[in-house]
C-alpha cells in the first residue's frame, strides 16, 4: 500500500500522541497511472512490418508509407487488399493478418485471380494474384470490430475534448484570446473571426485540425481552394471575399475530424422528405432503446484487502480471502455493531496498518514485514475487545479516499429507512421553504374533483 505523504512516528506511547504525529491528509490506493488524455489512435507503434517479409513501413511518414506498403504488397507478394480506404485502422489490420499468414497459407483466406500480366505491367499469361477482402468471414468480422473500436475511441476522445480545461492555445488571428476548452476556442474562431470549422459538438481531434489550419495559413495556402498566395494580407482578403473561410465539404482530407464519418456505414435508406426533419429533431423518440438505461456497462470497482494489497471485485470473495490468508473474519467481528461502528472499525484498521501498528496490542513496528510477522505469530489479526481504541470520532472519516470497502458494510433489505437515532447521533433535516401559492393550488385542485 502506498501513500503520498510521509509519516514521522515519534513515540510509541499513548494512542493520542501517535495519532497527532501521524499523517492527517487522506491517502490513496496505488492505481496504475493511466494517462489522463485518451489516445488519438488505436495503435501506438509507428512502423508496421509487412505481412509476409521483414520490410517495415512507417505509416506516419511524410512520403506516404501507406501507398508504398500497398505497392510493395502488389509488386512483390501479388496481394491486393479490397476496400483499403474503408479499413478503420490499417496497422491493426496488418498485424492481425501477419499473425495469420505466418502459420497458414495465403490461399486459405484470399480469393485468387488469374491475370495476364506481371506486376510491373509486362504481359504474361495466367499469373496468380490474391485478393484479401471481406468476403472472407474472418476479414469481415475483423473490419467490423476495428470500426467499433475506432468509434469507441473517437467517442471517448470527443467526450474528453468537450470538457477538458487544459487546452492552451493562442488564437490564430488575434493576440488577446486564450481559451481553456476546445469548444470555446472553436466558437471564438467563428464568433470573432468568422472562420467556420464546424460546430464543436461535431468535431473530434480538434488539436490536429487546428495545427493543420495553422500550417495552411502559415504557408499562405487558402483553406478552401488550396491556392497559394504571395503574402498574408492577400490571403486574408481572398478568403474573406470568396467566402473561403471554411472547410471544403468535398475535400476528404478533413473527413477524419468530423464525428459523423465514423458511423458504421450502411447503404443509405430512402427517407421521405416529410420525415427527414423529424428524424433529426430533438424530440424524436424511438421507444424501446431510447429510454433504456440498462445497456450502459462499466468496469467493476475493486476493493482492497484491509491487511495486504490483494484486491478483488466481489466483496464476498475478498472477505473469504481475509479469512484464508489472515484468519480475520470480518462478518464475525462486526456482528451486532451499528453501521457507524463498522465504519470506524474499517478506518481504524486501515489507519493502524498504514502507520505499522498492531491492531490488537498497539505495538509499533518499523516496516510492513515485521508487522505482518508479529500479527501472524501472535494471532493478532483480531480486534481488541475494548472499544475505546477504535470507537473514536476521528474514524468517521475515511482513511483512504474512494475506499470501496466502506460501501459494503451493511446487508440491505428492502426495509423502510429509519432516522438514525441508534447510537446517539442525531440528524436534523433542513427547513422547508415553500409557501402557499393560490394559483398553483387551484391548478392542482383541478385534477382532483369530488364526485
Amino acid at each position: 500500500m502506498e501513500a503520498n505523504t510521509t509519516n514521522n512516528i515519534s513515540s510509541k506511547d499513548s494512542h493520542e500522541e501517535s495519532s497527532r504525529s501521524s499523517i492527517v491528509g487522506p491517502l490513496n490506493f496505488a492505481k496504475d497511472t493511466s494517462s489522463l488524455e485518451p489516445p488519438t489512435s488505436l495503435v501506438n507503434e509507428r512502423t508496421v512490418p509487412c505481412m509476409f517479409c521483414s520490410n517495415v513501413y512507417d505509416f506516419h511518414s511524410r512520403d506516404n508509407g501507406v501507398d508504398q506498403y500497398l505497392a510493395h504488397l502488389y509488386l512483390v507478394h501479388r496481394l491486393i487488399v479490397g476496400d483499403v480506404k474503408e479499413i478503420a485502422c490499417l496497422p491493426s489490420y496488418c498485424y492481425y493478418w501477419r499473425d495469420k499468414f505466418s502459420s497458414e497459407p495465403v490461399d486459405k483466406y484470399c480469393s485468387s485471380m488469374l491475370l495476364n500480366q506481371l506486376p510491373d505491367g509486362t504481359s504474361s499469361s495466367n499469373e496468380k494474384y490474391f485478393l484479401l477482402s471481406d468476403i472472407e468471414p474472418l476479414d469481415y468480422e475483423l473490419r467490423q470490430r476495428l470500426k467499433r473500436e475506432k468509434l469507441d475511441l473517437v467517442l471517448t476522445r470527443h467526450q474528453f475534448e468537450r470538457t477538458d480545461r487544459n487546452y492552451r492555445r493562442d488564437c490564430l488571428y488575434c493576440r488577446d484570446f486564450r481559451s481553456e476548452t476546445r469548444p470555446e476556442f472553436i466558437s471564438h474562431l467563428y464568433a470573432k473571426h468568422f472562420l467556420l470549422l464546424g460546430k464543436s459538438e461535431h468535431l473530434v481531434f480538434v488539436d490536429e485540425l487546428i495545427e493543420i489550419v495553422q500550417d495552411k495559413l502559415n504557408q499562405l495556402i487558402c483553406l478552401y481552394c488550396e491556392k497559394v498566395f504571395k503574402d498574408r494580407p492577400t490571403l486574408k482578403e481572398h478568403m474573406r471575399k470568396k467566402g473561403h473561410k471554411r472547410i471544403n465539404p468535398d475535400n476528404h482530407y478533413y473527413d477524419r475530424f468530423f464525428l459523423v464519418n465514423y458511423r458504421l456505414k450502411q447503404k443509405p435508406e430512402y427517407v421521405p422528405i416529410a420525415k427527414r426533419k423529424e428524424e433529426s429533431s430533438v424530440f424524436n423518440s424511438d421507444d424501446d432503446s431510447d429510454s433504456d438505461w440498462s445497456d450502459w456497462n462499466g468496469e467493476e470497482q475493486t476493493t482492497t484487502c484491509l491487511f495486504c494489497t490483494h484486491s478483488e471485485a466481489n466483496i464476498d470473495t475478498l472477505k473469504q480471502h481475509m479469512v484464508d490468508k489472515h484468519s480475520f473474519d470480518f462478518t464475525q467481528t462486526v456482528h451486532g455493531m451499528s453501521f457507524y461502528q463498522r465504519v470506524k472499525v474499517v478506518n481504524f484498521i486501515r489507519r493502524q496498518m498504514h502507520i505499522r501498528k498492531c491492531i490488537t496490542c498497539e505495538q509499533q513496528f518499523t516496516d510492513y514485514k515485521s508487522l505482518c510477522e508479529h500479527m501472524d505469530t501472535e494471532e493478532h489479526y483480531r480486534l481488541s475487545k475494548e472499544s475505546n481504541g477504535w470507537d473514536q470520532p476521528e474514524y468517521f472519516f475515511p482513511t483512504y479516499e474512494d475506499d470501496q470497502f466502506l460501501c459494503h458494510l451493511e446487508e440491505i433489505d428492502n426495509e423502510e429507512p429509519t432516522t438514525s437515532e441508534e447510537d446517539g447521533s442525531i440528524v436534523i433535516s433542513e427547513d422547508l421553504n415553500a409557501r402557499i401559492n393560490i394559483d398553483a393550488e387551484s391548478l392542482s385542485l383541478e385534477n382532483f374533483s369530488l364526485q
Binding site: 461535431h202 450502411q266 415553500a434
Partner: protein, 272 residues
C-alpha cells in the same frame, strides 16, 4: 464594401450582416459541418403551452418549490430554465453507440446519458438516442431538466452552517441495483463509487456514506438507483414536518349543516 473592412482594423467582418443570407445558403449542405448558426434557434421567445407554463411566465409562481409542493407535473423544460437557468450545470456521463440491424445493414445511433444539477438541492437525469451526437446530447439535457427533483438535506449533530448530508437513511432501487444513502458527519466527503459520487455532488450533498448491492457494473441502473434514493429524501415524513399548515375546510365540514339536514333522524354521521 471592401474599404469598410480595413477601416475596422483587421480581419473582421465578411460574414456578419452582408454575408448572412449568402452564408446560410452556402453552408446548408447536409453533412453536419456547421449549419449556419444564425442564432435563430436560441433566442426564440418562449410561448407556454401548458397552464402551469402560463402561470410561471406571468410570475405567479415564485419558486420551483411551490410547484413541487402541489405535485404539479412539469411538461415544459422552459419552466425549469426560468427558475434555475444560471445555476444548472449539466454533465454528459456517457455517449455510447447503439446498433440496430436493419435490412440495409447496421444502423448506428448515439445514446447520451446526461445528469443535471445545481449543486444546491436539485438533480435530474436524462437519456436520449439519436443519429447525431449533438442532437442526442441536447435531447438528453431537455429530458434531464424535466426530471429534476428537489433534494432534502440535513445536518449531522448540530445545526450550524449549511445542511450538508442526507436527512435520514434512504434507499433507491433500479433493476438489480440497490443504493442506500446514509448520513455522515461534516468533512467525511462522499464515500461511494465514481458514478453516484458525481450525482451526489451535483445534488449538493457534501457528506454521505453509501452501501450498494446488485450488479453495479450496469452503470445505467446504478445512476438511476442513486437518483431514486436522492429523490426519496423529500418523500419521508420526519417529525419536524409535523407542523400544521393552514388548510381549507374539507367539503364535509363546509356542508355539514346540509348533510345534517338530509340524514335520517336519529342517525349520526361519522366524519371521516
Amino acid at each position: 464594401m471592401a474599404d469598410a473592412a480595413p477601416a475596422r482594423g483587421g480581419f473582421r467582418g465578411g460574414f456578419g450582416s452582408r454575408g448572412g443570407a449568402r452564408g446560410a445558403k452556402g453552408r446548408g449542405r447536409g453533412r453536419g459541418r456547421g449549419r449556419g448558426r444564425g442564432g435563430k434557434e436560441d433566442s426564440k421567445e418562449w410561448v407556454p403551452v401548458t397552464k402551469l407554463g402560463r402561470l410561471v411566465k406571468d410570475g405567479k409562481i415564485r419558486t420551483l418549490e411551490e410547484i413541487y409542493l402541489y405535485s404539479l407535473p412539469i411538461k415544459e423544460f422552459e419552466i425549469i430554465d426560468f427558475f434555475l437557468n444560471r445555476q444548472l450545470k449539466d454533465e454528459v456521463l456517457k455517449i455510447m453507440p447503439v446498433q440496430k440491424q436493419t435490412r440495409a445493414g447496421q444502423r448506428t445511433r448515439f445514446k447520451a446519458f446526461v445528469a443535471i444539477g445545481d449543486s444546491n438541492g436539485h438533480i435530474g437525469l436524462g437519456v436520449k438516442c439519436s443519429k447525431e451526437v449533438a442532437t442526442a446530447i441536447r435531447g438528453a439535457i431537455i429530458l434531464a431538466k424535466l426530471s429534476i427533483v428537489p433534494v432534502r438535506r440535513g445536518y449531522w449533530g448540530n445545526k450550524i452552517g449549511r445542511p450538508h448530508t442526507v436527512p435520514c437513511k434512504v434507499s433507491g432501487k433500479c433493476g438489480s441495483v440497490l443504493v442506500r444513502l446514509i448520513p455522515a458527519p461534516r468533512g467525511t466527503g462522499i464515500v461511494s463509487a465514481p458514478v453516484p459520487k458525481k450525482l451526489l455532488q451535483m445534488a449538493g450533498i457534501d457528506d454521505c456514506y453509501t452501501t450498494t448491492r446488485g450488479s453495479t457494473t450496469t452503470l445505467g441502473n446504478f445512476a438511476k438507483a442513486t437518483y431514486a434514493a436522492i429523490a426519496k429524501t423529500y418523500v419521508f415524513l420526519t417529525p419536524d414536518l409535523w407542523k400544521d399548515l393552514p388548510l381549507n375546510k374539507t367539503p364535509y365540514q363546509e356542508f355539514a349543516d346540509f348533510l345534517d339536514k338530509t340524514s335520517k333522524s336519529g342517525q349520526r354521521i361519522i366524519e371521516v
